[in-house]
């Protein structure tokens, strides 16, 4: 049985309180980190093989290494709690139930890169999360983990919470920085990367909640322990948010590399109501759909890429045999059309065009040739957009057609749903 690390505290009573956290060894990692040099900490994170948990999977240690070494340049840590990828609900749970774990990760990261300021960006919808963050930060100040001369180390770190106000795109790191600066959440041009020019023009380290949650454990248990979990290119524990047609939806902390089938069948209790599995989205709404015959794939960055999808946020959305894939593609397209920031042409217009085409087919108004148009449109968006959202909005429709083309053709030809036809008879 895999021993949960990131979620080890969340089921304890009053798990969000600093006293609970301290009782269970909290903030020991900070002390341990302070005993080492910043370079040693960066090296540990590099050796751990930790990759970002927000979706892109960029090696965390490399990111830390990009931060300028000049001590005179003020630096910032920006904490991304803008969890908005449909199907993903891990960060909210950690923030609400174990915020100190993240604060500890932030302190260590700030120490390693020499940052004196941290901002937490959190979705405006997470009212409880905001409260928990504010309380946790206040308590951390009170206990001397934040503020001036932390634990006598000479290190200073100030931290505050910044609430978002409803925009999926602000989960993209540069859009998040724009939003933090009081602007519309449009992604920025890269380069320069946030590590060079980030918040307020200063070098900024941006990390997802789950990534930061890993940090104290890497310091405490050592990078070798962390790197011992997972696969060749995907190390450590990972929280998988499982939703959809399963018996026990929820967050499951498991080693990277575990098979998708095991997550669904053993941890989430299998497909509900005895139905057969039809398809799975393995990494949140923006990752390509996998058909049931591919669920033996190990849940790791490299293996999912090879299987034609992505690890993303590790949000597993399970669909049973009664699911209409045209409707799935349509609903996901609707989400992305709603959440396009509108800055660049292909995403702004393409997202709506994709949705309209899918909506037509779903409602029996599709015409022969529409499927090709959808594929061409999706390809015309992916790679031409300003930010990675282009790929995100092309993925669902493209993968749905790739694996379930006959359902689209049926919709066009019979002006109705194949799945409904099968299951209502």
């Amino acid at each position: 049985m895999f021993e949960p690390v990131l979620t080890r505290n969340i089921h304890r009573p009053y798990s969000e309180k600093i006293t609970t956290y301290l009782e269970h060894g909290g903030y020991n990692a900070v002390r341990k980190a302070f005993a080492g040099t910043p370079e040693e900490i960066i090296d540990m994170v590099k050796r751990s093989g930790l990759r970002g948990r927000g979706g892109a999977g960029f090696p965390a240690g490399t990111k830390w290494g990009f931060m300028p070494k000049d001590q005179d340049i003020p630096k910032i840590v920006a904490v991304n709690t803008d969890e908005g990828e449909p199907g993903t609900f891990k960060d909210r749970e950690i923030v609400e139930r174990d915020p100190h774990q993240i604060i500890e990760g932030v302190i260590i990261a700030a120490y390693a890169i020499g940052a004196g300021r941290a901002y937490v960006y959190i979705r405006g919808e997470f009212f409880l999360g905001v409260k928990r963050w504010i309380k946790a930060i206040a308590d951390a100040y009170e206990h001397g983990f934040l503020g001036k001369n932390i634990l006598g180390s000479g290190m200073n770190l100030d931290m505050s919470v910044h609430r978002g106000a409803g925009a999926y795109i602000c989960g993209e790191e540069t859009a998040m920085l724009e939003s933090l600066e009081g602007k519309r959440g449009n992604p920025r041009l890269k380069p320069p990367y946030p590590a060079q020019v980030g918040l307020f023009g200063l070098p900024t380290l941006v990390h997802n909640i789950e990534t930061l949650a890993c940090i104290p454990h890497i310091i405490e248990r050592g990078p070798e322990w962390f790197a011992g979990i997972g696969t060749e290119e995907s190390k450590g524990p990972k929280i998988f948010s499982v939703s959809g047609h399963v018996n026990r939806p929820g967050n499951y902390e498991l080693p990277l590399g575990i098979s998708l089938r095991e997550i669904i069948d053993e941890h989430a209790g299998g497909v509900r109501d005895g139905k057969r599995l039809k398809a799975v989205i393995p990494g949140g709404a923006s990752t390509p759909i996998l058909p049931a015959n591919r669920v033996d794939v190990p849940m790791a960055f490299e293996t999912l890429n090879a299987a034609g999808s992505q690890l993303g946020t590790g949000a597993v959305i399970v669909m049973d045999e009664t699911t209409c894939m045209v409707e799935i593609a349509r609903r996901l397209a609707k989400f992305f059309a709603h959440e396009s920031c509108g800055r660049c042409t292909p995403c702004r217009i393409g997202s709506v065009r994709l949705y309209e085409l899918l909506d037509r087919i779903e409602h029996g108004k599709g015409k022969p040739g529409d499927i090709e148009t959808i594929l061409e449109t999706a390809n015309g968006i992916d790679g031409l957009t300003f930010c990675p959202m282009g790929a995100a909005l092309a993925n669902p429709a493209r993968s749905a057609i790739e694996h379930f083309r006959e359902e689209f053709e049926f919709h066009i030809e019979h002006k109705g749903c194949l799945v409904k036809a099968v299951y209502s008879s």
Partner: protein, 167 residues
Amino acid sequence: MALLDTHKEDIERHLAKYPDKHSAVMPLLAMAQEEYGYVTQDAIGEIAGILDLDVTHIKGLIGFYTMLYDRPKGKYLLQICTDLPCALRGAEALSEHLCRKLGIQPGETTPDGLFTIENVKCVAACDCAPVMQVNGHYHENLDEEKLNKLLEDLRREAEVSEPAHYD
């Protein structure tokens, strides 16, 4: 009453958080919305003055962020998620039920000013789908029966007290 009369300390606290005061625009807008129920025209002007921003910029922010409103909404904001994970567990039918029950469409407010329905994007509670936030409170694993009861409770609550706001 202006925000500077009622929330001077909070405003200063927010301004102190950032090296560039423009960053304080989001907290100040949230503050105005909490105070007045939505961001009033006066509040936009006042915040623009405090932060040395053009009102056009603030209008643009309100338009960009779905949680900011420049017009009144119902006492209870019913935000039902209809994204994929919730939809797989019946959110769409539930949303339709809610609309039928209140006689309004998503985006509308009941004539008595009590309820506004919105179909919102994923609120990160997919394990408890279908989900609805009521003034920020999560109501999880909903079905028609639970929803009916919730509406009754809210109506009763509204008769005796001001609705709890976002906490």
